[in-house]
Symmetry: D2
């Protein structure tokens, strides 16, 4: 339940207001240089309190490597990483100990487990994603050694949509506080989020992602198609409501003659497709073109407004607007989307190595 | 790779033009009455040649149960089901033995495996879904015994969209050749598909699905969220490009105060939500409300038109319009979507039973 | 539950007196030549009725390949194999429909599942091992292509023990009806089994096995040690009561200075060990020396003698000596032990390929 | 690779001389009271330096619970436990950085991973079993709530064998430094171990184990037989060379008429067997009788004597007797065997709950 992946496999643990958050990475190849500065920079991209449009909650998100490295390199044994909690402020949550916050996991956890840590959502808190980003950073280091790059970015906030295709974007300009690689659109999004925040409200958004130079052949028919695992990975992130890749939902409006990607041989003798409605994946297997997809995030459920609800006994109650939360999750979701993508691609990369072809 | 599920687990095998297609179901509870008439009726809903808007390929799709039942009931041992191929017509495919059909899996299988069965797509053929429907029918029998129902239907073809919400639909009118529960819209869709077919072209569509009376508590945090597994299941179906549940991609435009589903106690003392943007799932766990989602299918890649492509060596070639294929996949996709949903819900239902709460 | 292996993964199905027995092999590398004559010869080694010291039940054990091959070679997609039942004689079993045969699985299946196929043990019948031998034959073909050989043989029947070490044996003389590579011992064993058989009784035995030229590095710490998976594989065979490898239970009597295998460099510059108490495995990982192990089989539970027992309701009853069974299981168990060993080694061989070392 | 179990699933991490050793337990039922004093007492039974016949290495083996509990009870989310290393003394190991110690995992790890932590065996060190004992203690707490007990004990050291059957033993006398429940035999064993220790040598031994009041029906045919998983669990412990249950290797000498366990109804109307050669398991499923088994441990490989070996380059070298190690592993192995047994039984207990019988 708390494990993801087959060969490169992560297991996460920890709660929002317990000792901390952690992850065990099993199946990391031996000999990988563990660049601690890179890990820290990835953690920083996700951490709270990074800008005026994120939650003011402060967490250092410093990682401790508990096992699996020797003299700076991975040994092939499990890499355990721990991120102690700091700015926990458990007192904040006593007011919701017996109340079900609307559109949170309070009610379903209570019914499933009986015994839940109500402080900050406990295990259901998005704080769990810190562990994913740490593990994803290790996966990214592996993929970098193979020349594979992953670029996530914010492409929509509310009704404000980035009009450009990914191929027109300049990713070197991505790391503004919005993580939208177009300054003009980023500014609009930031202004809108600030407005929503001042209303005590929240807003949804879309994170897009493109993966480049993936080798041909990754992905497994029939159930473990590359995009099926990518979709599961993204849908497992808190607040995600939808996933589409390549032509996506828009593609249903096209005719086959418009949608099909014809093959040709390029100047280097490589087989390519003229268009890429397939999104780099055909029959569940990468074809060498860019893989791109979109992930829809609903508005954050915690509001600075009062909401009606019920308590443990079903009695009517009011959930007051309190706590420290993001008005819009997508800027901080970008590194999480990238991390999950890195985990999926790394896993398939290593799975593919176990496919031996006889006499080849 | 060819296995889906954890407790109720299926493994499929078989190719489009081999001996047949089959599935082994492991973990089916003992004592389940195997209603062969129901199995046959489900197979009939998926089978080719069922109407003027589906492929004329004829397959009886008669199932043979090879193991796992005794005196008409499941024994708890693996249920193996085999569906022999009949109208194979392998000769049809010699013309594409060395050509890569655009937007098919020919190229990626060739690169991944070296040794591919090019006849009708071999393993990558949608014929594999016959096994899923057979397994899904067993899962449906289980869910029926628990009072859980699953209704899939066509909600979009090209630009033609069913404007009504699922709650306004009369599913008793669903089983027309379009599997769209609104006669007027169904007629428009059928006419459009016939027009596209006459052009030798194909068109995409959307299948919607609603699951009712699911108990509270199904789904596993963190990675195996109920909607994450549903998403993976749907994305593993051939030609699927996107998945969304509850408010989906539209939900990103809403503010939290609009999107949140407030709790109340209904007249029977049951905790319910006033709205259902959550789509019956909160924190990855069912909350007892209706689960609903949408699945986007791209247009079928096989056209009755010539297309440019390359062959095994990368030389330019023409893929001629030949073979027998669906102009639009969604009418036949409805039972496949339902089958995969049934497999996911059954699996989580049985997984939930292994969650014991101490002293409760 | 009915699946074994991680990368090279088999799922078996079928009952003693149903349609037949089958197996789906997932993860078989593409391009492997499927030598049907070899498969048939392996099936013949296991099949009933092969000699005067085996059950007179007759089964042709002809295999049908249902999927996964094209033009005589594996395609990388699931290889499904089916072995129809023939000499079923279901009438034989009515007398035990409601009785629990001593030391069979009748009682435990009844309690676990409620609904059991009592004919010939149903799923608990050793007939299920036919599927393992078929799958093992595919694995053997793979291992042959890597130069790895597996030799099982009978080393004990009752108190009659083959006194020689495996290294002194001539395996070319193994395929007598006893599968004991020493003529003198084989003769004694056969005479003893015939005597036991004439008493209506049965006797246990030991199958030894040696695996040669396994590459260094197979096996996974910590839980999936090579010998741990071998042990599980052997213990999963019907009637097995014990497993030991290398020095085994005798090794506990040795001192460390006697037991340790010192390393040296051989004439070819290869690192070897002077002795091999380790049985070719150190820290759960193959070290390139011969892997050898022993498997203990209890006497067959079906006797030609009356036995006291109880029926479904717990009432005292007599189970009469009827049916057709082996007086001693080990001659037919040899190919099963080899098959399971082949599956384990193949799986680890392919798993090892997914271990990438960076910069190496 | 570092994960064990299906529903109650543990993943261990950590090395002998790194930060520490840990385990993540996934699938622990919610509401279980986590008795920290019991956990500490179990850790104490395994920890080094506990008596004159164990290694003098000192480790406090204090556990830190990092996640998964709230107000003293399990929450159903992953329980992470960490055991910091203390008496590491890494300097001790520089002399073997490039040498392969005989019958250790040095050579196989080097060949498998390239990059190994040579200090104290790193991941291959038996220190990893501390994590198993911690996880096993949680499993024991669960089993205690079900009335299931597990008793491991030392039954053999070298040639000194405890002559009594488990049913004749008084387990209340077990917790001497030998963990042998017969004072006379214990004394002999201790004297022998001291003698061996003074020679700078080591000796092997056998741990026996009996599990009482297991419900009927645990265990899964076909591959996941209860004894097959028990066997794998035991064989995964460092230094184990063999596993047998019930009649074991001795059982092969018996005739079926001697070996079969006849059923009868006892005074309480319960179906029992008169004898128990089956060892409480029939067809891989528990039958309600006592489960008992034996585990063979080879002599510890680290000697206080010089041994010949080779270095990384294959050059002849001498491995000197140094470091702090157990002259005989079995007294400290008893809690490890019990822990692994507890993990297996707990896992099957929870798996069994997912087996629903329809209409029953």
């Amino acid at each position: 339940m708390n494990t993801f992946g087959h060969i490169f496999r992560i297991t996460t643990f920890g709660e929002s207001h317990g000792e901390g958050i952690g992850v065990v990475i099993d199946g990391c190849p031996a000999g990988l240089e563990i660049d601690l500065a890179f890990l820290a920079s990835e953690m920083k991209r996700r951490k709270p309190g990074q800008s005026k449009i994120t939650t003011p909650r402060k967490e250092k998100d410093e990682i401790k490597i508990l096992s699996g490295t020797f003299e700076g390199k991975s040994t092939g044994t499990p890499l355990a990483i721990f991120i102690p909690n700091q700015d926990q402020n458990s007192g904040d949550y006593s007011h919701i100990a017996t109340k079900f916050r609307p559109s949170h996991a309070d009610y379903t956890y209570e019914k499933k487990y009986g015994n839940r840590d109500y402080r900050g959502g406990g295990r259901s808190s998005a704080r769990e994603t810190a562990a994913r980003v740490a593990a994803g950073a290790i996966a990214k280091l592996f993929l970098q050694s193979k020349g594979i790059s992953i670029q996530g970015y914010v492409s929509q906030v509310g009704n404000i949509t980035l009009q450009k295709e990914y191929s027109e974007l300049d990713f070197s300009k991505k790391e503004n506080i919005m993580r939208c690689p177009n300054e003009e659109t980023a500014t609009k999004m930031i202004e809108f989020i600030e407005k929503v925040k001042n209303e005590g409200d929240t807003i949804g958004g879309v994170v897009s992602c493109v993966i480049k130079t993936v080798p041909v052949g990754l992905g497994e028919p029939v159930f473990d198609k590359l995009h099926a695992e990518l979709g599961k990975a993204m849908l497992s992130i808190n607040a995600v409501k939808g996933f589409e890749y390549g032509s996506g939902f828009e593609g249903v409006k096209l005719k086959g003659s418009e949608h099909n990607d014809e093959f040709y041989k390029d100047e280097n003798g490589k087989i390519r497709t003229k268009t890429n409605h397939s999104g780099g994946i055909q029959g569940g297997i990468s074809n060498g073109e860019d893989i791109y997809f979109k992930v829809a995030f609903k508005p954050v459920a915690t509001l600075m407004k009062d909401q009606e609800s019920v308590d443990n006994e079903g009695n009517k109650t009011t959930v007051s607007g309190k706590g420290r939360h993001d008005p819009c999750v997508v800027p901080r979701a970008v590194p999480i989307v990238e991390a999950m993508a890195a985990l999926v691609i790394t896993d398939f990369y290593l799975r593919q190595k176990s496919h031996e072809r006889i006499n080849s």
